[in-house]
């Protein structure tokens, strides 16, 4: 077209076409695209009908007129204190229309720029200047809209969906020899799937506005400015949200120096924050980017990456620092939480960061997951080592349940929660399975069988614990107390297993076997204590004539002294479990009382003697004082 002389006929055609375009342009309900095309055509047609004289002709007058109009519109807003997009949709769309006009003019003028046409150059210059002003303004409008209409959702609101809380043992392992502290805090269960939960981070009804700004800016090649502004606002919004969640930015050095209570709560917080940020916030942010920038190819994912990068990497960094830390056994549960959280989120992460450019994010997640796995295994092993190496210098007073026992059993009773994860992690770990059990009852669910990796390790742990308890029992001088101690502790072990999900992993046979064990110790106790006492009541010559008084007296005295001795000593012993205590008392009572009654019965003549210090009922009653945990001594009472 350029440079060719238009014939009369051509000019008529063009004029007609021009007329049609103008008519069409006046209709309502034109889409932006259609309008743009018409404006474009209009401009071209204007230029075709222009004179080729230098100095501009009639056609350029049209162009100049269009430019003036659009320019007026755009510049009029520059002195206006209000924001365009606050002033209603009509104002906004009029403004956009003006911008499109300018844009088209610029495009058209540029295409004709082969001519050294002064007028044309002037117009182009003017147009680009106006365009720049408009773009600058649009940037501010964009930011205003984004900030004005953002929506923050309450994180508490999210947490109400995870109602099931599990109590977690929060103690540091080193405090085992003291009173075990109260069980504190709680954790989110990984099975509490928050799931992807998309919210509107910006009010849905302004999305079209943002899109229209995006469109006009991108069409004018001002995409980079749009992205800068958009990323800046969204990034700050995310950071504000992180601040609400109290995700701190901590250096690795700081994390490594942290003491346990503090670290434990931060690990907990991390677990929770990760879920919310990835599954809710980032999912919503991605959707926002897609909505706004979906038409512009990879720009959408680029912006999303830029917005989310820093926060995600910060969270990952904390994870790295934790994984690098010393492998203390008390960390195990929290580490497993973190592991499971990451494992759950992997799919979300892979979806959110699916492009090539964001592959490093995915990679870091996978690497971190692996590290958590390694750390968990190390913590688990440290747990086992700590059990074995927990030594005592002095026997545990009273022979009751040792704190080590309580700690370990309470701790491992939490582990079935993590059964799937632990089975996965412990799969290739060697374990000395001392208590091989063959449970015929291996149901269809293999992971619950007593031969899964976790079961083997659990049994190994209790086996270590038992060995340790056995060593501790050797510290008692009194053999009977040794047996009481072991009876108490193994009984506790069994009760813990029976009373929790652990029973599924230990199996019935293990339980049976250990029931037998503590029973055995009970028997041993009785033998150790009472055989010698009852010895005094023995009848050396059954069937012979009644015993001499002196012998009777001796026997009586011997029995009394022995009994009182036992009473004095063993009232301070402890059998914490009431049922066990009762059972042992009954069993003891049966033996002792029976022997005594028989003894007295054999020598009816001497019953009135004052050497008989205790009645049968008395003995019976005293036996009930045993194992109360507080020492008592018998006062001699002649109660008849």
């Amino acid at each position: 077209m350029d440079g060719c002389q238009s014939t009369e006929g051509d000019l008529h055609v063009v004029a007609a076409a021009h007329h049609i375009v103008k008519a069409l342009g006046a209709t309502k309900n034109l889409t932006d695209d259609l309008r743009k095309i018409l404006i474009d055509l209009d401009t071209h047609l204007s230029m075709i009908t222009s004179n080729t004289d230098s100095g501009g002709g009639r056609g350029f007058v049209d162009v100049e007129e269009q430019l003036k109009q659009a320019e007026r519109k755009i510049l009029s807003w520059e002195s206006d204190p209000t924001m365009i997009w606050d002033s209603g949709p009509r104002e906004a769309s009029e403004y956009l229309e003006a911008v499109y006009e300018i844009q088209t003019l610029v495009d058209g003028l540029r295409r004709l720029s082969v001519h050294e046409n002064r007028k044309q150059k002037e117009l182009l210059h003017r147009a680009t200047s106006v365009l720049q002003t408009a773009m600058s303004r649009l940037e501010e409008e964009l930011i205003h809209v984004l900030v004005q209409h953002r929506q923050l959702f309450e994180p508490k609101h999210m947490s109400s969906r995870s109602t099931r809380r599990v109590v977690v043992y929060d103690d540091s392992f080193v405090s085992v020899d003291d009173e075990p502290a109260k069980e504190t805090s709680s954790r989110n269960c990984p099975s509490d799937e928050i799931g992807e939960y998309i919210v509107d981070l910006v009010r849905a009804d302004v999305i079209p506005d943002i899109k229209s700004i995006a469109k006009v800016m991108f069409t004018s090649n001002y995409g980079p400015e749009f992205c800068e502004a958009f990323i800046g606002v969204r990034k700050e919004a995310l950071e504000q949200y992180s601040a609400i969640l109290e995700t701190e930015e901590l250096g690795i050095e700081d994390v490594l120096k942290m003491e346990w209570t503090s670290m434990s709560s931060k690990m907990n917080k991390w677990t929770w924050s990760m879920k919310i940020i990835v599954q809710v916030y980032l999912a919503s942010e991605k959707r926002l980017c897609d909505l706004v920038l979906g038409d512009f190819g990879s720009v959408s994912s680029f912006c999303f990456l830029e917005i989310s990068k820093a926060t995600i990497l910060c969270l990952l960094n904390f994870g790295e620092a934790i994984a690098m830390g010393p492998h203390q056994p008390e960390k195990l549960l929290r580490l497993l939480d973190m592991y499971e959280t990451l494992a759950d989120l992997l799919r979300d992460i892979d979806t959110l960061f699916s492009e090539e450019a964001s592959s490093f994010v995915r990679l870091q997640f996978h690497v971190l997951l692996e590290r958590f796995g390694v750390s968990s295994i190390a913590a688990f092993e440290a747990f086992q080592v700590a059990i074995s190496s927990n030594g005592s210098l002095y026997p545990f007073p009273g022979g009751g349940v040792h704190p080590l026992n309580k700690y370990v059993m309470n701790y491992i009773s939490m582990l079935p929660e993590y059964c799937n994860t632990l089975n996965l992690l412990l799969k290739d770990q060697h374990v000395d399975v001392a208590d091989q059990v063959t449970d015929p009852d291996n149901g269809p669910n293999l992971s619950l069988s007593t031969s899964c990796p976790m079961s083997c390790h659990l049994r190994s742990i209790t086996s270590s614990l038992e060995s340790n308890l056995y060593r501790k029992s050797q510290l008692y001088k009194d053999e009977a107390l040794q047996h009481i101690f072991l009876m108490n502790n193994i009984h506790y072990l069994v009760q813990k297993v029976k009373g929790s999900e652990l029973r599924l992993f230990f199996g019935d046979e293990w339980i049976r076997k250990h029931n037998g064990k503590f029973q055995q110790h009970a028997n041993n106790y009785e033998r150790a204590t009472w055989s010698s006492v009852i010895c005094f009541l023995k009848d050396d010559n059954p069937g012979s004539s009644p015993v001499l008084k002196s012998t009777f007296k001796e026997q009586c005295r011997g029995f009394s002294i022995a009994f009182e001795e036992v009473y004095k000593t063993q009232t301070s012993w402890c059998i914490p479990d009431p049922q066990l205590r009762e059972d042992l008392r009954i069993s003891t009572s049966l033996k002792v009382v029976l022997a005594y009654r028989t003894f007295l019965g054999r020598n009816p003549a001497h019953i009135e003697d004052k050497c008989v210090k205790h009645t049968v009922e008395h003995v019976e009653k005293q036996l009930l004082d045993l194992f109360e945990g507080s020492p008592r001594s018998l006062r001699n009472s002649r109660r008849w």
Binding site: S129, S136, V147, E228, A310, F360
Partner: protein
């Protein structure tokens, strides 16, 4: 073994002493050889770094990548010497019971620096994006007020980012950012780029300068008998690690670099350290020169970008349509320079971050290895 053979060399100094040792420990000798070789390699590698080609000006992106590679090579050799076929118990005895934990402490500090620097690269990338806007504006023919305004806006943001007082980085993360920014006060030059809050991803009180300072603290060259044994490569590795971190912090913007130490207490007589010390002094001089006015770091490309950007800002300030031909030509030159820099950045920043990441992972792994060895050494007999 003729003492004269090794006259003046590192080995020569100890061979005299060795003649006094009754028992020749073959393993010990091998170790000494390894150490010597290690230090020779260090010397060679840093010597190479000191004489860069045109493409690799000191503290350019590609030079930094090379530096990080040097670190990785040295570290690998170091680890081999220290850990391979080593009785763990040996490393738990003095002086290693002090030297190794110190080394590992420094390693942890280095990790935080790696993170900070990786972030810093992000802000360099941001500058690149801004520069690209300016380029696309000024590449238009003909250049008019519109293009000039556009370029100026982008360049002003760029310069603001470059001259950002490092401290401001911490304030940028305010939760109550006021968005009105004097909108209607006619301040049209408010630039969009300031909206990009530069969160440093490190704790608020963290300071790169202090971190470097604390790594240098207690760094003492081994003397006497220690200088001829394992303490020597440990010291060498410490110095290398500190130098690399220091160079990264000097080059790349990260939080709070005021007060960056410029002096390393490395004795000049150590053979292997000559090139390293030379480099360090050179970089330190540059740092001292530029320290007064805030700057985004000594990164070669950033320095060049700053120059070109400033020139272009001057151009935009004095521009009047249709523009002076000579000035336009000059501007075009700067634009070309800027384009080249952006190209280098586009190609080089991601690999740089990947290098830093690799160093990070290597330090983590190495630290774990050392800790495992120490644990073995200290495992109590149950």
């Amino acid at each position: 073994m003729n003492a004269n053979e090794y006259q003046g060399s590192f080995l020569g100094r100890i061979s005299i002493r060795r003649n006094q040792v009754v028992v020749m420990d073959a393993i010990h000798e091998q170790e000494l050889e390894d150490i010597e070789l290690f230090q020779k390699h260090v010397s060679d590698r840093f010597s190479e770094l000191s004489s860069p080609s045109d493409d690799d000006a000191v503290l350019s992106i590609s030079w930094l990548c090379k530096l990080l590679d040097v670190f990785l090579c040295c570290e690998a050799e170091f680890e081999a010497i220290l850990l391979m076929d080593r009785d763990p118990y040996q490393l738990s005895k003095p002086p290693f019971d002090r030297l190794i934990p110190e080394l590992l402490d420094r390693a942890v500090k280095a990790l935080d620096i790696c993170n900070a620097v990786t972030n810093g690269v992000e802000s360099v990338r941001h500058c690149q994006k801004l520069a690209e806007i300016a380029i696309s504006a000024l590449d238009q023919k003909p250049i008019g007020d519109g293009e000039v305004k556009r370029a100026k806006r982008a360049l002003s943001t760029l310069m603001a980012a470059i001259n950002l007082d490092d401290k401001d980085g911490t304030n940028a993360k305010s939760t109550e950012r006021s968005w009105s920014f004097g909108r209607r006060s006619g301040n049209k030059d408010r630039v969009a780029g300031q909206f990009r809050s530069l969160s440093w991803q490190v704790a608020k009180n963290w300071s790169a300068a202090k971190q470097i300072q604390s790594t240098i603290y207690n760094l003492v060259a081994p003397r006497g008998a220690e200088a001829s044994g394992l303490p020597s490569p440990i010291y060498t590795m410490n110095v290398i690690m500190i130098f690399v971190m220091w160079a990264l912090v000097a080059a790349i913007p990260c939080q709070e670099r005021t007060g960056l130490p410029t002096h390393f207490p490395v004795p000049k007589q150590l053979n292997w350290a000559h090139s390293l010390i030379g480099l360090q002094e050179k970089i330190a001089d540059e740092w001292k020169k530029k320290e007064k006015k805030g700057m985004a770091g000594l990164l070669d490309e950033m320095q060049r970008m700053e120059k070109s950007a400033q020139s272009l800002i001057d151009f935009t300030d004095s521009f009047q349509f249709p523009g002076d031909a000579e000035k336009l030509q000059e501007a075009a030159g700067h634009v070309a320079e800027l384009t080249e820099i952006c190209r280098i950045m586009e190609q080089g920043l991601t690999p740089l971050q990947m290098h830093i990441r690799e160093v990070f992972h290597r330090i983590v792994r190495s630290r774990t290895e050392f800790l495992d060895v120490l644990e073995k050494a200290s495992l109590p007999v149950i």
